[in-house]
């Protein structure tokens, strides 16, 4: 049992336990905080696998972006100290049973399958290699998906603003701003 192994088991335990608490706790704010720890555990596993760039992206985008967004929306939509209502026991038991059966089935399939390791030239997942592949237009380059993703993010940003805008008949501001919006 080397230190490497112990670190992996600690990270896996952190990820799974906080993920499980995140879906079972009845206080929504605590669920968000447990989700945060689960995502940090996954970033730790990426570090453990020596994929530092994807770990950094995970921390910046998920932990720093999405969880903060979720916490903000909890503040906007929940009353303080209000607990989520508990589900019926039958639904819980049935979901747990279905999920456990599916999990066991998947693991069984996975254990029966011997994965074939393909050892060709080793490409280091360094920042340099990632940057070159990301912007390369030759075979195996990712320039086109990169551009499409940038269009998607732009569209999502515009869409968010349009969806979250106040409707005209709900506007309670003064008439000067109304006139500005209509002109």
């Amino acid at each position: 049992m080397t230190g490497n192994t112990i670190i992996f088991y600690l990270l896996a335990t952190l990820t799974l336990v906080s993920g499980l608490l995140s879906v079972t706790t009845r206080q929504i704010f605590r669920a968000a905080i447990y989700l945060l720890f689960s995502l940090i555990g996954i970033a730790g596993i990426y570090f453990w696998l020596q994929y530092e760039f994807i770990a950094a992206v995970q921390i910046v985008v998920y932990v720093g972006g999405i969880v903060v967004l979720i916490i903000f929306s909890i503040f906007l939509t929940q009353q303080a100290g209000e607990k989520l209502e508990s589900q019926k026991l039958g639904r819980k038991v049935f979901s747990a049973l279905a999920v456990f059966c599916a999990f066991a089935f998947t693991m069984l399939q996975m254990w029966q399958d011997g994965f074939i390791r393909n050892e060709t030239s080793l490409e280091n997942p360094s920042l340099q290699n990632i940057g070159k592949r990301m912007l390369s237009t030759t075979d195996g380059g990712y320039a086109l998906p990169f551009e499409i993703i940038s269009m998607l993010l732009l569209a999502a940003m515009v869409g968010c603003i349009v969806i979250a805008l106040k409707q005209k008949d709900l506007i309670t501001t003064n008439s000067r701003e109304d006139g500005k919006a209509e002109s």
């Binding site: 879906v23 760039f53 967004l69 979720i70 996975m110 990632i130 998906p145 999502a156």
Partner: protein, 103 residues
């Protein structure tokens, strides 16, 4: 024993089904969104593990994970905009109260 591919696949499968369990049992839109995030993260972990252990000559799994993270960020932003708009009109973000949007 050094943890290998199967250990990471176990973690990602367990995380996926934890997310599915949350999706089944929750009735609040924000907690359902959290379950979706867990599912997407388990998929990312799968891609990275396969890239690391089975195909170390390429970086394709890493790029798939990167694009999934970007799409997940866009999806979370749009979903939260929809949730806030729904809260404004219904004063609740329970999926049961959003049922009337079907008709």
């Amino acid at each position: 024993m050094q943890p290998g591919l199967y250990h990471i696949l176990f973690v990602s499968t367990a995380l996926f089904f934890i997310g599915v369990y949350g999706f089944f049992t929750r009735r609040n839109l924000i907690t359902m969104l959290m379950s979706i995030e867990l599912i997407l993260n388990s998929v990312n972990l799968n891609f990275i593990a396969f890239n690391k252990f089975l195909w170390p000559g390429k970086l394709d799994g890493l790029f798939f994970s990167l694009f999934i993270i970007a799409i997940a960020a866009a999806e979370a932003a749009v979903a939260i905009a929809i949730i806030i708009n729904l809260y404004r009109s219904h004063r609740s973000i329970d999926v049961g109260n959003a049922e009337e949007m079907k008709y």
